[in-house]
């Protein structure tokens, strides 16, 4: 009696295993027949290990030189214009030397640098403090070094604005839509209550175009891979003396200024 119950259990166990295995085998046999939808990059997309920018300030001397660069960015990213400076939204703007490079000014700075407008934008830091403080991971660093924002996820806590030592981030205190001169339909706007900033034209890199400011700069701005020793930016960095904003903070800015 005992031995027959034992063999019954054995057979029952093996049969259960066989029955359970059949659906698994069926799934494995069927996969590969119908192609699953997938996602991919545009084959023309520009790729890099760490994107960086070199700004040749010798070629951008006056506000008039900076204007087309700033205007094109404002236009293609639907950046609103507010008369109230407290509501200002800026991705790329001009700033004086003493504001851009505090603690780097010499006692008797030469006149050219002292009153020259400097093109200022997000530095896409190697160690971005804004990413560390973001509680929702709305701000994150991409594998190619671009510090990106997912506006869907931003809750408007503004920790990133407190963390950013460069003032590169702006908060939408009001609905920006009515304050955009002409809506650019290829790019979304933002909504009230989110933070925004420059993203090195990620949408243009994705289709194989250089950032808009670089494209209209007539060679004053160079953009490329800082990790590639043969890139144009690395060549400029080898041949020229460059400075970065607030290097002592250890954020590792990826925007360099030839002065």
């Amino acid at each position: 009696m005992e031995s027959s119950r034992r063999s019954f259990l054995k057979i029952a166990g093996i049969s259960a295993l066989g029955l359970g295995a059949k659906p698994v085998l069926d799934v494995m046999a069927s996969s590969g027949e119908a192609a699953k939808p997938k996602t991919m990059r545009n084959p023309n997309a520009l790729l890099a290990k760490r994107w960086g920018m070199v700004i040749d300030t010798r070629k951008l001397k006056t506000e008039e030189d900076l204007k087309p660069l700033i205007d094109i960015c404002n236009k293609i990213h639907n950046i609103p214009h507010f008369d109230n400076p407290h509501h200002e939204i800026k991705w790329i703007w001009s700033e004086e030397f003493e504001n851009d490079f505090p603690m780097q000014e010499a006692s008797f700075l030469d006149d050219r640098l002292k009153h020259m407008p400097f093109l200022t934008l997000c530095n896409h830091c190697n160690q971005p403090p804004c990413v560390r403080v973001c509680p929702t991971k709305a701000t994150f660093k991409r594998e190619d070094g671009i510090v990106m924002m997912d506006y869907h996820r931003c809750i408007g806590c503004r920790f990133c604005m407190a963390a950013c030592p460069y003032g590169s981030r702006s908060f939408n205190f009001r609905d920006p839509r009515p304050f955009i001169k002409k809506l650019y339909t290829k790019y979304p706007t933002r909504t009230k209550g989110v933070v925004e900033k420059c993203d090195f034209c990620a949408e243009r890199l994705a289709v194989g175009e250089m950032p808009a400011c670089v494209e209209v700069s007539k060679g004053a701005l160079a953009f490329g891979d800082l990790d590639d020793p043969n890139s144009e930016v690395r060549k400029l960095l080898r041949d020229n003396y460059t400075i970065r904003r607030k290097p002592a903070l250890g954020t590792g800015p990826s925007v360099f200024y030839i002065v």
């Binding site: 192609a35 991919m40 990059r41 869907h152 339909t185 979304p188 909504t191």
Partner: protein, 136 residues
């Protein structure tokens, strides 16, 4: 021993009248709206959408799960830098709500809003994304 018969209901008239009023009031929304159900919106497909016959996924899946698909698209575009969707029949689509979905489906008021109103959902896609047809 026989129990005393105390099945007498006090204030019978008032209690029953009260119960009737209560029942009428609580069922009021049902019979007031009887036969007045809003008809399900009829979607008018654009000529372009009709010619394409099928969306990026089968129609039934799109009807039920387009919101999940849009979330996947968003994550793929923003986080994985992959902006092209290859459907199971091998067609490539640029993952863009304003410039791919609406390009085929027409104005959002005619396509999105109609159904969303009927289903009483208010997604906030259009707080940021632009319907190119609404821009003068």
């Amino acid at each position: 021993m026989k129990m005393p018969n105390n099945k007498k209901m006090y204030d019978k008239g008032k209690v029953i009248a009260g119960l009737c009023i209560f029942l009428i009031l609580i069922t009021f929304p049902f019979w007031y709206n009887l036969g007045k159900a809003a008809p399900a919106p009829e979607l008018k497909l654009t000529a372009k959408a009709k010619a394409a016959k099928e969306c990026v996924l089968p129609t039934q899946t799109m009807k039920a799960d387009h919101m999940q698909l849009l979330n996947e698209w968003r994550d793929s575009v923003v986080r994985d830098t992959k902006r092209i969707y290859v459907s199971s029949d091998g067609k490539e689509y640029n993952m863009s709500l304003s410039n791919t979905c609406l390009d085929c489906h027409g104005a959002r008021a005619e396509f999105c809003t109609k159904c969303h109103n009927y289903a009483s959902v208010t997604p906030y896609c259009w707080d940021c994304h632009i319907d190119p047809k609404e821009v003068k």
